[in-house]
Symmetry: C2
Subunit: 413 residues, 2 copies
Amino acid sequence: MSDESSTVLTIDRDRFHADFDTLASFGATAEGGVDRPAFSADHQAARRWFARRAEEAGLVVEVDGASNHSALLAVPGAEKTLVIGSHLDSVPTGGRFDGAFGVMAALEVLRRVKESGIQLSVNLMAIDFTDEESHYVEFLGSRAFTGKLPLAELQAPHAGRMSDAIAGLGLDLVAMANCGRDPQEYVGYLELHIEQGPRLINSATDIGIVESIIGIRFHRLVFTGQADHAGTTPMEIRRNAGLGAAAFTVALHELLETDFTDCVGNVGSMVLAPGVTNVVSKEAAVDFEFRFPDENRGDALEAQIKDRARSIAERFDLELEFTPMGRARSAQMDPALRRIVGEAARRLGLSAVSMHSGAAHDAQIMSAITPACVIFVPSVGGISHNPAEFSTREDCENGANVLLHTVLSGFGG
Amino acid sequence: MSDESSTVLTIDRDRFHADFDTLASFGATAEGGVDRPAFSADHQAARRWFARRAEEAGLVVEVDGASNHSALLAVPGAEKTLVIGSHLDSVPTGGRFDGAFGVMAALEVLRRVKESGIQLSVNLMAIDFTDEESHYVEFLGSRAFTGKLPLAELQAPHAGRMSDAIAGLGLDLVAMANCGRDPQEYVGYLELHIEQGPRLINSATDIGIVESIIGIRFHRLVFTGQADHAGTTPMEIRRNAGLGAAAFTVALHELLETDFTDCVGNVGSMVLAPGVTNVVSKEAAVDFEFRFPDENRGDALEAQIKDRARSIAERFDLELEFTPMGRARSAQMDPALRRIVGEAARRLGLSAVSMHSGAAHDAQIMSAITPACVIFVPSVGGISHNPAEFSTREDCENGANVLLHTVLSGFGG
């Protein structure tokens, strides 16, 4: 930040970092990261703590039917609301910045605006969306917020049973599916996030302004063969579902390395049944995702993936079932918001660059009902979804100040 | 069986089939098989029922430190014992014949000999060995019986914790490791089993006399890479442990299809961590086994497997750990016992053939301390480790009668 910054309103950096560090103690892992899958005890504890901190700041806390936790700085007479935030859940054994950074910055911005006495033209809401990491259902919280989360998806989550997960939390699936807001009440959504990639750090740029967010599709592919004795059954007549899963995983990567280098993909698990070495696998379930710059490329890649899977099933005499498990459409960020973010960075003396996001964010869900934008800060080493995920204190402060000034410039009184 | 059979002692076929059917009700699955992994509630119930049936027949039941269940027909003055039997545990969702058939036939042979009043030259023991299917530890029961089961293996089982598995069963690991018998007390071990392959059924042969049993080795291979965001990390810099596991599985099969067609192998599970699609897998554990006709071939195959695994680890920038998880050495069956089995079959008018066993059996463990032999009956379709596993009633009766007459001819008074 330049010297000029001392003359402009900035966040309370000590309070911000102290809160960030406290938050990182919920679900802290030995490796220095956090383990806070949605609805886990540590996730719930982190959310309760966030709500308490917001109440201590005199903000109005609300928990909606999808367990989205929000804090509101209400402006008398204002009819509309600007939402800023991210999510407090993490991937299993993830890092402490992903999502958490954006929520803590949002809370700090609300506190700072309140303390400054500046009257905004809109209400300001800091939000912690539920299950952004899609442990149970893709973007559960933001999709519920937008009213675009079918009950059927909640009834068939990826992991376990949703009803078990939310038992004792005062939630129910029907309420989750029915807590959509009226888009007319919102003027926009801003999300501050770590980049999770190496571009900013490698180019020594302070701020990334996201132009577009990749699309993502999750699928489960199940190969079914025949359980057989793994000693006595000749190799050439086995119908080995596990071999199908392995060959598919290799083929998916070949596809991404040749014809789809603008896309990425990942197999998260291969679950073989019955799962013992002395039985040829009867069934193999492969959970995977792929991401693409636009929906046309997504369609093309999906077609090729299915084609490869079918060839493999045929080659190993297996049956094949291909089930979509969720998706987020690729999205464009709002040009007006992007311009305001860029001006805020410039005023703070920070370098900024427009960029594409290879990570999915609640912002792309929110963009369906309101103008949205994501602001990035540099990730050291580009590492994320890993306990080693790290952004410097200065970069985090810079990002929070850009968020603050985007709010002030765009929605000042 | 030929007409001549009516003039010789045979099993009580109705009692035998009724007992076999009752046994199949313990852990019965909807698909018609059984699910009785070692120490499961259904396995324990099946063993208690077996012991009760033996006691009802006036036999002396014993449960040793490894939970091997045996029934003894003691002969006054006899110092040595002939052991016949197999195992009552199954693979997960397995068939009802594997192991169970041999135990039920052994019980029936003891009953029939007792009822006939024929005095053998040795005590006759029907045994149900613990965990032949190696759910916790390879051939736990027979290896404990032979005194060749190190405590360390019991302390590091494949599945869960052994101490949890045996809680409440009056067992402890030290007693398990220390219940080896004195080989001098035994004259031999005979095991009647389904073939689990297609050779007998395809050649319309009644009885298989096993000459040799394959060797088997179990290994766990762990690839370690780096957890990374599955959206933002460029494909070419990912250190994807799951991709290593998949490529290894494909490579193992290529090896078996080219240079090692006399061997077989199988990957039972690939467990990826953290196991979610939006994180590149940091770790992948591959549990697999391979089987070979003799130890030299086993050594050669193991060397090649390790070589392939190392190449894959290098290619994907992964670390590699290779852990032996157990083994059974290849074994020759006793020529004298094989001859007696062949004579018994001929006397009963049954066709018989000498053969190799691609499946592992407790007999190969027992062969280290006493002469051993395995007798096969045909498996319909060669299917095993599958609920569809099936052998006809007539073939099962034939096998039991061959076992009975092998006992009578070889160890008659």
